[in-house]
Amino acid sequence: MPPKRKASRVAAESDEAFQELFQPEYKGKKLTDEINTAEDKWNLLPAFLKVKGLVKQHLDSFNYFVDTDLKKIIKANELVLSDVDPEFYLKYLDIRVGHRSKTPNDKLVLMPPHQCRLRDLTYSAPIFVDVEYTRGRKIIVHTDLEIGRMPIMLRSNKCILDGADDNTMARYDECPLDPGGYFIVNGTEKVILVQEQLSKNRIIVEADEKKGIVQASVTSSTHERKSKTYVITKNDKIYLKHNSISEDIPIVIILKAAGITSDLEILQLVCGSDPNYQDLFVVNFEEAARLEVFTQQQALNYVGKRVKTIRRAGAPKLSQLQEGIEAIATTIIAHLTVSDLQFKEKALYIATMARRVIMTMHNPTMVDDRDYVGNKRLELAGQLMSLLFEDLFKKFNSDFKANIDKVLKKPSRTSEFDALLSINIHSNNITMGLNRAISTGNWSLKRFKMERAGVTHVLSRLSYISALGMMTRISSQFEKSRKVSGPRALQPSQFGMLCTSDTPEGEACGLVKNLALMTHITTDDEELPIKKLCYMLGCEPILGVDSATLHDEGNFGIHVNGTLVGTTRFPGKFVENFRKLRRTGKVSAFISIHTNTHQQAVHIATDGGRICRPLIIVENGKSKVTAEHLLKLKKGEWAFDDFLVHGLVEYLDVNEENDSLIALYEENINENSVPTTHLEIEPFTVLGAVAGLIPYPHHNQSPRNTYQCAMGKQAIGAIAYNQFRRIDTLLYFMVYPQQPMVKTKTIELIDYDKLPAGQNATVAVMSYSGYDIEDALVLNKASIDRGFGRCQVVRKNTIQLKRYPNHTKDILSGMRVDEHGNPIFPHQALGPDGLGEVGARIENGQIYANKFVPTNAGESALGGASEPTNVESHRETPAYYKGPEPSYVDQVMMSVSDNDQALIKVLLRQTRRPELGDKFSSRHGQKGVCGIIVQQEDLPFNDMGISPDIIMNPHGFPSRMTVGKMIELISGKAGVLNGTLEYGTCFGGSKLEDMSKILVDKGFSYSGKDMLYSGITGECLQAYIFFGPIYYQKLKHMVLDKMHARARGPRAVLTRQPTEGRSRDGGLRLGEMERDCVIAYGASQLLLERLMISSDAFEVDICNKCGLMGYNSWCTTCKSSENIIKMTIPCAAKLLFQELLSMNIAPRLRLGDVF
């Protein structure tokens, strides 16, 4: 009977619940009110971004590096000893960046980052160390010794902008919306892109089905070394393979060498009691028996014999046995440390690898997926900097050691030697090393034989979005050229972690990814406390586990960072308890735990570089975040971290995500046999920052969103609040940028509405004039007159005034005047100081900096010193402006660079109105060039007299299927009529029905189609025209930068053919395919003209007797002028003949009459 009673109680309860529903007010809300948790939980996202920001991953990583990792590096390399003087030592006690020991909270005032940009300096802070060393008999402690300067990541906790409010930022000439996360090295902004790699210290099992090979591999990576260990099958037998062992070692032998001598125990460790596995494994025992390896001693000898030894000179030679021990202790699976020759852990690790291989041999589906995001780790700026710094620091120490050894070697010294005097000599090495690596992007570390190029990139400042997009970019280590689809494909496990749309097209497609909006990348956490915690939660320590029961059914191994640390019989309970502790904040929120039932294992990960994201915890079918919590958030009482602390929200990495059931919406939560564990905060966070700009992306064909992601970065707009203070090589500004009528929540979150890149154009989707085919656009001239699409191009020109060793220097000189006293044409823009005047118009061929170089600059200082210096003569080397359109001088900056040389930057500005051929694009991957500019009166107009800014051809729609663009138009039109900004947020946004309703209410057709009148005839158009605002971006590709034509011009020196390329005023090549056409057509005279006469015609004297080329009507070979014939050949042909002659081949011409 009890069940029935329970049922009736539930019924009664639900009745009551119903009664409550019928009340006009239910828990303070009316029935008509939406349940606000579902609606308002998105507020967690801005809260998250407020705490984390979009580039938090970079900042966290760098902060971790300077605060924690540096100290670890110092600890690992703390002692410098001398080979000469055993008494001497120097010990590093502490290291700090940016502040002295006495004033831990007072950061040193650094040069503001913007000054570094302008003056081509490096934004860096001093690195201080505290050292303890011996001077004679005394031990001296010295604090705050500067050993170099560290480039500082902007807005990291060492940056002066850390925690600065908008006013402070303004005072430093910084944009408060600038995300930071980059370095400034020699005045250029450099980003260290996030690098994606296969995870370290984890077993990855792969199979080659064709060859029947199964291999388990693990890349061990520690501070000291990196090595890769394989367990592979060969002829169904299992071997261990390692780079430092010349031959594959049978698995049984390696296990015996590691101290598991009993065959039974080996079988138990690898196969457990599963007969299938045992059958597969027994062959390996035969192999070991055949090789007569039975004891550990024999096994160690066997291994030792096959170790490739690279011994440093002077090191004692080891016996085979010792080699074997050494190999097992240090080289194989190097990330496990062995103490007191206790090899058990290592043996277990190898056994686990072997077990994974056996499992895969038995069941091929047990392989791991390399492309699975859970098997990837992201390497950030901090890790890369730490590798670099450790390398440099080691070099610094060895240089220092060499230096003191040299001094200490001297038998008698006059005074006591102070080691500190020689430490300063090398301090430049660290500074320069760091600067060079960041500015060139070449990470070359001898320790790991790492040689990586292209690690850093110049931060693209084309627009705010392009800079932001760069900060969230992830580059993969795969080669671009390889034709594999796996690593490029969209992985289901990317959901919510990596943007599904934002990837470039072409060769890097799928290899370069972007982070999604709400992600966090972990940093390393301590492993030891977690191990201890496991034991406290009922995990049996692995060293105490009986081998026989290790792989018993229901006995789960517990792995911490891939290493087996113990077992438990109650994995469910264990995981639950662990998670409880994490939710209460007893354990770091970024430690993940998940169960793998196939491997009977619980995995705990504490390592850095995992991507994770926050999710709302669901318990008993209810979201733990309720309206009350959100109210607190809205009121500002709670921040995002409070949700973490109170266990309402937690971070899951990809592996743990796969262990959970995540509901997209609140209504999807269920309590079935597999209950929902988490609730998504906002579904649109599957997209990244750049893809988040697209309105209604869920209505578009997916490649269109990808195209827009690429184009959004090329859009001209506002760059930053300090954009007019910046002096960059090339900058584009839009004169009147507008925020889009149809926004998305992402747009507001990333402040695109404050730094937009585009304008709301009224678009008529119709055919007009025929100049709109192939995606060309028709622009309204009146709109352009009024400022539509107007942009500015600002270009930097740098002039350096050098000083020469002979005390001469470059100078600037004023203008030269003609006979009327007016400045000569090239000097018209100059001021009295020899620099362009701000505001002056400067045309092609005019000078913006009248620089003079001393004629004797190359002479040595010694000779010139005696001569009088005032008779210096100078040569004119002015900087000419080159360009089809004039520019205006925007700014002139004079400063002094690092090496005391005058640095002058002249900023030239052009304001451009749109013209034929300029490129525009909507936010839906629909790009087009301007095909014609039409007078306003010729354009169609509607009842209200509105004529379109842009006419777009309707053929752009059917094949592209960008329905989102149509909905954007309708929403935008409704917004304009209603005076509101509408939303086109992904998986949400303003509903089309509501928008149509607004249109009808305002007297327009529900469909967005209006009746238009032709501007030319004045009659009504026979079709209704889809008409309304769409946000259009002007892209950086403008005709003015590309136009090129040439009649005559420069030629290459060697071949005398016209030069190539626009920048060299080159010719337009009649290529081989064009040549084929001319040949096929039979236009031989045209061919002759194009290929020779207009190119490199060369008159040459040919001796018809010897067939060689003569000179000046004289054949030098025949010593006569008798048979000389003048003819014209291409200079390239002449060159070929001469080159052949030079290699002892005589090409002889035999000339005959043609006609």
């Binding site: 004169v735 500005r909 304001t911 107009f941 009842d943 007297g1003 004045g1018 009504c1020």
Partner: protein
Amino acid sequence: MSDNIVGIEYNRVTNTSSTDFPGHQASGDFSWDIEKFKQNFDIDIKYLTERTANFDLVHIDTSIANAFRRIMIAEVPSVAAEAVYMFMNTSVIQDEVLAHRIGLIPLKVDPDLLSWVDKTQDENNRYTEDNTIVLSLDVVCTKNPNAPKNSTNAKELYRNSHVYASDLKFEPHGSQLEKFKNNPVVPADPNILLAKLRPGQEISLRAHCILGIGSDHAKFSPVATASYRLMPVIDIREPITGALAVNFQKCFPPGVIGINDQGEAYVQDARKDTVSREVLRHEEFDGKVKLGRKRDHFIFNVESTGAMSPEEIFFKSVRVLKNKVEYLRNCPIGQ
């Protein structure tokens, strides 16, 4: 007269072109007759304000009505700044952008008082007192010493922090002193923001304003827009009554459809209709109503930018059209 109605169907517009020219149709002559035109043609002025005019041209050919529209937009001359000479500009706004903004300001000048600028002349002799009006803008931003404490409002903290169109000052030259004595040149809208300044920043410039036409540059267009729409026609074919009538009424903007005492819908004022075609979406009105527009009834709407009154603009468009016709008539080809 149904052939005079442009048909508004659910998904297309029919009967858009007029066919009333001589010999086209068996019924009717349609040959041009000035007397007949005089008799038929009708102008009905709905309202006139300083900036807007709304009037109907009835029984006129589309081509003529459209010609007026086009001329008003593009060919009626007006005055705008063309050359801006910068003496000082330390504001954040760039010279070109500031000049562009000044160019777009509508000026209250009678264009008839100026003559055309001869573009063939070189720049030094091009502008004379007969064809050019000089406006000057000289503003320096300073701190306001008696600004209220804790104020964050730039207008309170600084003087001349905002530069408006009204800061442009007319500089009469020569005969202009007399000519513009009673109506000095001022921007039509004084509150157009030109630039924002902060203490220490300064703008000093002269703008030369000349006569031009809208097809040259939109700044010379005397209208914000000038356009027309056709008179809507709502033809209720079958009586619509009761609840249906209420629904029918809702398909139109308020005031278009009335419901009489019998609960029957009738057309109250078709002119107010925006032709949203909402009624065509609803099946229940299928066949009961026919929408259309009168092809020769043009409801003109002229919005002046403020330099001239809208009616003046229209008259000028007529003058321009007359001149064009005169030119054509004198063309040798025409003879």
